[in-house]
Structures are given as C-alpha cells and as structure tokens.
C-alpha cells in the first residue's frame, strides 16, 4: 500500500508538471489554432535560465523568477511577432513545421550558449519534505504542485473575469468576429505566446531544480503533447485532468508493469504514447475536446 501511495503521489506531482506544460500548449491552440510543438523547449529554456540566474549569477530566488519570466515574455513576444505572425492564414502543417523549426533553433541556441552539458542548481529552492507516514513527498514536487496549482488558478481567473481573458476566449472561437468587434487579434496571439512561454519556463525552473538541466529536458514537451491530445486540444480543465491521470498512470505502470516486461521496462517513457494512441482509436478528438463539425 505504501508503495502504491508513493507511486500515486509522485505521479500526481509529475502530472501537475505535465499539466502545466500542456496548458501552455492549449492556450496557444485556443487563441490561434496553432500547434506549438516547441512548448517543451520553453521548459528547457526555463531550466537553463534558472541555472543562469540562480547558480551562475547567484541572484535571490524571487529576483531570478522575475528575471526568468521577463526573458520568457520577450522570447514569447519575439517568436510570435517574427515567426508566427507571417504565417497567419497558412495551412496547419506550415504552422506546425514552424514551431518545430523554432524548437530546433531554441535547442541550437541553448547548445551554443550553455554547451551540451548537464547543469544543476539544486538546494536553491526551500527544502520542505513532507512526510505522510512512510510516504515522502519531495520538496520540489511539492513546490511544483503548489506553483502549478497557483498558475492554473490565476489563468482560469484571468480567462473568466478579465476583459483580456474574454478577448482571448473570443478569439479562440472566431477570429473574424472578434477582429470585426475591434479586438486586435495580433495582440491576443502575442499574449497567448507570452503566457505559454512564461508557463513553460516556470515549469522548466521547477523541473530543473528536481532533475538538473540538460538539452534532453525538452523531451517532456512531447509527453505533454500526449496529455494535450488526451485532454482535448482546447480544454484547460481537460489538460489538467489528463496531466494528473497520465502522471499517475505512468508511475503505476512503471512500478508494477516494468518488472514484467521482457527487457526490464522503460515503460514510463512510452506509456503516455501508448495511452494516447489507444484513446485516439476510440475517441478521435480526445477525452474532452470540442468536436467541430466539418463542413463539406
């Protein structure tokens, strides 16, 4: 039972991380119908930025967070303006390829700036391990859980109650209508990218504290895409639910099924993809996706 609970709780923390990354993706998709494959690269960028500010420049934590977010705001804005805006009206594949190419550029830049080496900056975040009986929750996971929850709540509130949130939701549904109503779509797109970048780097700073920073960090973005598919492309609630679900399932699968595998596991890495392809076979629009009727 302890084993089970330990796995479940670790999965929960991991799932919240997935959800955080998935939300960045969903926001961009909702607002501009663009699929941002590079979301995982924002996470990687966040990790390296966290490393730079915390471990190299030794800034205090709060200042580092502000600095990281500032860089993300600029990066998100610049990427939207230079790379995505010229593609408005182009087919879906063009936008997808653009974000993939962006992923390549971001990764390349990270390699040029920071080298391909593994970096760590742990022991910067407060160490508050929570022990529930025999189960222990690592502080980074705990902080991750708290931060993700705060970020998600803030975003939800923003979408629900602010004018800009209304504009973003409206643009997500019908760009022509909203532009006709005087809402500047470009502003909404830029904002979506900025929010996604910020959410991504915040996730990266958290993750970097847990497992160190490396180029491979962006791989978590691919898993988050499985979360996105599962939750439905345009549902934030779906992303959270699917993130938590996948995080927990992945951990349980690794814990209980790995030893049964012919060559010892690695199931955690592939599990989200297996779940995703199964779900796609049964529900082609994910579990919570809006089904859009296609007009002939």
């Amino acid at each position: 039972m302890t084993f089970f609970l330990q796995l479940a709780i670790t999965g929960l923390a991991l799932g919240m991380m997935y959800a955080l990354i998935a939300i960045g993706f969903v926001i961009i998709f909702k607002c501009s119908q663009a699929f941002n494959i590079a979301q995982g690269h924002f996470v990687m960028l966040g990790g390296y930025l966290g490393y730079t500010f915390l471990a190299v420049l030794h800034l205090p934590v709060w200042l580092s967070i502000i600095a990281v977010i500032a860089v993300a705001v600029v990066a998100g804005g610049v990427i939207e303006r230079l790379a995505l805006r010229p593609l408005v009206g182009q087919p879906v594949l063009a936008v997808i390829m653009m974000t993939i190419a962006l992923a390549g550029v971001l990764e390349g830049i990270a390699i040029l700036l920071w080298g391909g080496e593994y970096k760590t900056y742990h022991d910067v975040l407060p160490a508050i391990t929570l022990n529930l009986g025999a189960i222990s929750i690592p502080p980074e996971s705990l902080i991750g859980l708290i931060v993700s929850t705060i970020v998600v709540t803030l975003l939800m509130l923003m979408f629900r109650y602010t004018k800009i949130g209304l504009a973003m939701r409206a643009t997500a549904e019908d760009e022509q209508v909203t532009r006709g109503a005087g809402i500047r779509a470009t502003m909404v797109y830029a904002l979506a990218w900025i929010i996604a970048a910020v959410v991504g780097v915040v996730g990266g700073v958290l993750l970097g504290g847990v497992s160190g920073v490396s180029i491979a960090m962006s791989e978590i973005g691919l898993k988050a895409l499985a979360v996105v598919i599962l939750g439905g492309l345009d549902s934030i609630g779906g992303a959270i639910f699917a993130g938590l679900m996948l995080g927990i399932m992945e951990n349980l699968a690794a814990g209980y099924l790995d030893p049964l595998m012919p060559s010892g596991g690695g199931l955690a890495g592939v599990f989200p993809f297996i779940v995703m392809i199964l779900v796609l076979m049964i529900k082609p629009h994910g579990l919570f996706g809006l089904k859009r009727i296609e007009r002939v």
């Binding site: 796995l7 391909g116 593994y118 160190g212 491979a216 596991g265 955690a268």
Partner: protein
C-alpha cells in the same frame, strides 16, 4: 500540373551542392585527390617524396567526442586533456615527465583532430571517415553504441582506437578498441566483493538489484554471467530498474521499487547527469547507508565522482564508485603532471572534471602507439595498420604516473589495459579510496 521537371534543375542543385561541400572543406588540409585508401595518408603538406628524415611531419591523434548529450561534460574534459597533453609533448618532445627515455623525433609534431558525434552512431561513422581522410591514424570512441558501430570498421580498416567506455562487448571478439578502465562487469564485481566484506547479518543473504542507466552503457551489466557471479558470491538477485540516462523527472518509482523489494545493494552504471538526481531523490526517500532505510548505491562509471562529490556534498555520502582514475587530491605523479599542464596552458579555466585525466591517459596511449610505430617505420609513411600492430599492440607496462591503478599493457587480442579495479567512496563530500580489487574476467573472451 505534375509532370516531369526539367533535369536542369537537378543538375543545378548538384552543382550548388558541390560548391557548398567544397567550400566547406576548403581551407582545411584534406586533399581529396588521391585514392581513398586508408594507407595513403601522408598528412599535412608533406611533399610527394620524403627524402630526408628531417622533413617536418605532423601526426594526428584524437577521434570522435560526444560533446553534446549526456556525456558532454565528460568528453569536453577529455578533449581538454588531449589538447593540453599535445601542447606539452610538442614543447618537451618526450612522452611524460617520468619517461625521459621515450623521446619524440624532433621533426614530428602532434595535433588533435576531433569531431562532435553528439552520441549518435551514424554521426560517429561519418566523422570517422572524415577524420580518417584528414590523416588520423588512430581513433577514439565516445560511448558504447558508438564503439559498437565502429567495431567492424576499425577491424576492417586496421585502426586502433582508445575508448572512454569499457563495454564488455569490446572484449568479444577481441577487437582493437583499447580501454584504460576495467570492463564494467569487473567494476560491479569489485563493488559486490567490497560490500560483502561489510555484511554482518548471517541470518540472510544480501539482496542485490541493478539500478542502472537506461542505455547501452547501463545495460552493459545485464548479462547472465554477471547475475551468476553475484549469486556465486552469495547474493540474492532481485531484479533490475532502469533510469533514463538524463532523467526528466526524479526516478522515484525506481527507488520506491528498490525499497519495496528490500534491496541492500543497488549496482548500476550511471553517469553524473543520471546519478545526481537519483541519489538526491534517494536521500529524500530516506534511502542510503546512513538513512532510515539502509541501502548502498554502487556505480560503475569512473568519470563522474569528481563532479558528483562536490556537487552533492553530504547528500552523496556512502556512494561507492568503481573507478580507475586517481582523485585530484591524490599525490600521484600523473596528477601532479596534470596540474602542471593546467597551470601552464589554462591558468584561468582549470578543468576540475576527472575525465581530464582520462584525456591525458588516452592521448598518451595514442602518442605512445604512434611513437612506437615510428621507431620502425618512417613517420611520414606510417599507416594505420602500422600504428595498430607496431604501436598499440606493442604497448607494454606503460606508466600513467599513478593516474591509473596499474600500468597499461596491450597485445593482439588483449585490448584491456589495466588489471585492477580501484574503488572510491564519497565520505563527507570527499573522495576516499577503498582499495583495489582484481579483475574477475566475467565476460567470456
């Protein structure tokens, strides 16, 4: 309108391609005029016919380095070691401070040729061809998959290589990838033997499991002979857990599994990017030699302890690493040599990674092979086969000034250079030597 296009287009593209390719290699010293046989390489700007022995000759050492990816920090340090060592040899014309008799001919200078394979076997093969055509007579291998990919080529082309990895696969069939660290299975055996000495509970057998990197490196020990050996020693073998080489999440699940299965000793091949988060998480879960749940972690990759120990501090206490390189604190002659070189060639950016020492050892091995071969063949006319047969395979009792635990001896069919395993442990953030253990030859040759 989808009909065949004018083939001028293709011609044009090919021409463009050539321009790019040629301009890319242009400026380099590779000449592409002679037939591409491995034996033609009179490197550098050597004239067609070398009449006088005084004609200057440049010999290259080096090979492929995985400067991107999980091994990046290791390989970068190795490369630094290569570069400094070559400078030193060119300045002093002897093999090492302790070898005044092993002199380098005055007309020979060394240079390093390298390429970043980013830990991809296909890139390795491409770089290998490229460096070979530039005149590299030796090769270096950055990781097990790369070694596996190169193995057949190296044998076919008769090129000797040094390696940072010590895959059991290099031994069988006996190839020409010369290692300077004990084969991983022997490293594991040493840790297992050491742990057994401290096992006092007579009521039960100690339980052992693998906690190892999910990569070729990590899976090197997953062979039946290894398990049989552990059971022969008196262990109860529980199973294996794999951690991604660079985890993107803490390996809590794998650690919880060890706890659940009451494992006493976890053996694995892990490099620094994998072991740091793993041990950190273990401590957090109350697992370790000094923690509530008693378990010892033994890792078998010599490279990372010098980075691991200072980065982890007290958290890393009790971690055992079967390595081969002397610690920076050691007073060995070789370490002093390394420090001297660093002071001379990189006064401001000292390399603290232990793989710098590995770089020196590998570079020294390659230089020694070239030196030995050139005592028999004119250095300007050396072929890779000469370097392999008259060089690498003739290296006997080569001292590394104590960087390695024993001297290096190679021969045909004997690519394993050392014959002891050095065990080190992290204690209070420092590296403490636990002693040396003999090789057990677990992999059938």
């Amino acid at each position: 309108m989808r009909r065949v296009k004018s083939l001028w287009a293709i011609l044009f593209m090919i021409a463009l391609a050539l321009v790019v390719a040629v301009s890319g290699c242009g400026g380099g010293d590779a000449t592409t005029t002679t037939a591409p046989a491995p034996t033609d390489t009179t490197a550098g700007s050597a004239p067609t016919d070398t009449a006088a022995a005084a004609e200057p000759v440049t010999l290259y050492i080096g090979g492929t380095f995985a400067l991107t990816g999980p091994y990046a920090e290791d390989c970068a340090a190795v490369l630094a070691g290569y570069q400094d060592y070559v400078k030193w040899v060119n300045d002093n014309k002897i093999l090492a401070p302790w070898y005044s008799d092993k002199t380098i001919p005055k007309n020979v200078t060394f240079d390093v040729l390298w390429g970043d394979d980013a830990l991809a076997p296909d890139k390795t093969l491409t770089i290998y061809d490229d460096l070979k055509s530039k005149g590299l007579l030796t090769e270096r291998v950055s990781g097990s998959p790369e070694g596996m990919a190169l193995k057949d080529k190296l044998m076919g082309d008769k090129i000797g290589a040094t390696s940072q990895s010590s895959s059991p696969a290099y031994l069988n069939p006996p190839g020409n990838i010369f290692t300077n660290a004990p084969i991983y299975t022997d490293q594991m055996a040493a840790i297992a033997e050491w742990f057994l000495k401290g096992w006092t509970d007579t009521s039960r057998k100690p339980r052992v499991a693998y906690l190892t990197a999910d990569s070729t490196l990590g899976r090197n020990l997953d062979i039946p002979e290894m398990q049989a050996y552990l059971e022969k020693l008196g262990y109860e073998f529980v199973g294996a857990q794999y951690v991604p080489m660079v985890p993107t999440a803490p390996p809590t699940t794998q650690l919880a599994w060890l706890k659940e299965n009451k494992v006493d000793l976890a053996l694995g091949l892990m490099i620094n990017p994998g072991s740091q988060p793993t041990i950190k998480e273990a401590v957090r879960l109350g697992m370790g030699p000094d923690q509530a749940y008693k378990i010892t972690f033994g890792f078998g990759y010599p490279a990372h302890l010098q980075v691991f120990a200072p980065a982890m501090g007290e958290q890393g206490n009790g971690v055992v690493v079967a390595g081969d390189f002397a610690a920076w604190e050691s007073n060995a002659e070789g370490v002093a040599f390394a420090n001297e070189m660093q002071a001379k060639y990189r006064p401001n950016d000292k390399v603290t990674h232990v793989m710098y020492l590995c770089g020196i050892v590998e570079a020294m091995t390659q230089v020694e092979a070239l030196r030995l071969a050139s005592t028999q063949v004119d250095p300007a006319k050396l072929t890779s086969a000469d370097v392999l047969e008259k060089g690498f395979q003739q290296i006997k009792d080569l001292s590394t000034g104590g960087i390695l635990v024993t001297n290096l001896t190679y021969g045909p069919g004997d690519p394993e250079g050392v014959d002891e395993v050095r065990l080190q442990q992290v204690q209070g953030g420092k590296i403490v030597e636990l002693g040396s253990y003999p090789l057990r030859g677990i992999v059938p040759k």
